[in-house]
Amino acid sequence: MITTMHYVAVSLAMLLIGTVGLLTRRNIVIILMSIELILNAVNINLVAFSKHHGNAAGQVFAIFVIAVAVAEAAVGLGILLALFRNRETVQVDEIDLLKW
């Protein structure tokens, strides 16, 4: 029998995978992908609890999360293109102009 807690556990595992990618990788594109993984983990949680409570509001929130993820990816990749044009690098630890 698969319960809501199973889905929450999968969501937790996915959140941790996304976090470790976000905090340890050097490549900006991989970091943006890790953010997508984290947002997907949130969505699994929302949909699982939507089913648990018999209420569609959770799924509507998941749609909003997807919309924000799309906006974030578009702006993030636009910034990445502008950055690459100026600095010729996509490694986060080489982008340190603002570092004291």
């Binding site: 809501t4 556990a9 569609a56």
Partner: protein, 165 residues
Amino acid sequence: MNLDVFFFYAFSTLALGGGLLAITRRSAVHAALALMVSLLGVAGLYLLLQAEFLFVSQIIIYIGGILLLFLFVIMLVNLDAGKGLRQFHKNWPLGAAVTVLTGLALAVLLSRAQLPPAQPMPSTGNVELIADTLFQDYLVPFEVASLLLLVAVVGSVLLARKRGA
């Protein structure tokens, strides 16, 4: 074996295995393809949770939209120049430690969670249900989301265009 259980573990393996591959590959294109596997697994989980509309949106928006955007950008910036370099920055043990701590805290929290008894979904179809909720209770957030997407489109074009063009 129960079919539900089988599909749950199959889709979870896809989602988590794809995610693990996506954050460990050297080549960004391989990572994007692994991310696609992961997103497909998540879509399968939505189907198991009887969220058919989200299943379809996930495939169309994430795999058809966001992932394609990633692949385009990877082609534009020639990421493979960084393939031979170090893949993890020098403070990676700190990041890993933060992740482990977060995981432990959330796992402890979840193991103590007491869920209220499950309630059945209303018997109307999933798409109809989402439309009712979205356009009756969440109409204003829906309009705000459309504004957000408009700003994102204009902003990303402005950011990505060449100077002086």
